[in-house]
């Protein structure tokens, strides 16, 4: 999915095409046809310049109508960074992404703990595995009010948490103030995942341990029945 201002679409396309040999179609936000697609990625970037609120305007793009239907039919939907922001603004995922608590744009590699491996996105990881993935954002502070947060946790919707190198979920390991160190969540049905870190930037061994690769591999396994 490409919106005006998306800039991480090429990385995602490259990973899927070059590393996994998949057929990829770039969907411009004004197209509203998603036929023939098994999975959708909402990439990172600055759709609409992050004007008003990150993802707030992209949410109303013509294509988003059909994305809701696509998700309802069980299609796989992955939102990365700005994509996660768009998914929360749309209501396909609960919560909101606010300004980083330190008020600065953070660009660095963080540790994430994989909390669930029984999703189409994480089947290739080990439960509790600690991975290193880069983040690059100014509004990555995940927020959900108390009661809804309890429900989210009870329903095991948290998929990735910020942690230290030993896998401990500590305040020091939290780069942006997200409640419960939440870095990525899934909807109740398990087919829509949103995450602030960029797994597509860690798929090529040239760029470091390809800790993002299992995520795409899991998705392909799921879609090909592998």
């Amino acid at each position: 999915m490409v919106f005006p201002g998306s800039n991480c679409d090429h990385d995602a396309v490259d990973v899927l095409q070059r590393i996994y040999g998949q057929r990829v179609r770039e969907v411009w936000h004004r197209d509203d046809r998603l036929d023939g697609l098994d999975g959708l990625i909402l990439p990172g970037g600055f759709s609409y310049g992050d004007y008003l609120r990150a993802g707030a305007i992209a949410r109303f793009s013509p294509v988003m109508r059909n994305i809701t239907g696509f998700a309802a039919r069980g299609g796989l939907l992955l939102g990365i960074c700005n994509g996660f922001q768009i998914l929360t603004e749309t209501g396909l995922l609960p919560g909101a992404l606010m300004r980083n608590i330190g008020l600065r744009f953070i660009c660095r590699v963080v540790h994430l703990r994989v909390e669930r491996t029984d999703t189409p996105f994480t089947s290739r990881y080990r439960q509790g595995q600690v991975i290193r993935i880069p983040i690059a954002h100014n509004e990555g502070n995940y927020y959900l009010p108390g009661e809804q947060l309890e429900e989210l946790e009870a329903a095991r919707q948290v998929v990735f948490r910020y942690c230290d190198s030993d896998g401990a979920v500590t305040a020091g390991a939290n780069p942006n103030g997200s409640v419960n160190n939440i870095a990525g969540i899934v909807n109740r049905e398990g087919n829509v995942l949103g995450m602030m870190p960029h797994p597509e930037r860690r798929c090529d061994p040239l760029l470091g341990d390809p800790d993002g690769a299992p995520l795409f591999h899991s998705m392909i396994d799921f879609l090909t029945g592998g």
Partner: protein, 76 residues
């Protein structure tokens, strides 16, 4: 921002204000001002629609509250 939400921008500005000597300031919260010019004849209908727009697009009800101030059209 809703009162329950931590406002790091507001906090940063508060600290700066107090450092400047304005100790009487005890809290700062920062929001947005959006000016809309609207056309229409039915004032009540307009109010309803703009409230709807404010909930749908202009604010994120999870994090933000809003207030609408109506100014009179100068030609009124």
């Amino acid at each position: 921002m809703k009162p329950a939400i931590l406002d790091p921008q507001g906090k940063a500005v508060l600290q700066a204000a107090r450092q400047l000597g304005y100790e009487e300031v005890v809290s700062v919260r920062i929001g947005k001002l959006i000016e809309l010019e609207v056309n229409g004849n039915d004032r009540d209908e307009l109010k309803g629609r703009i409230e709807e727009l404010s909930r749908k697009l202009l604010s994120n009800p999870l994090m933000e509250t809003f207030e609408i101030e109506w100014n009179r059209d100068p030609d009124d």
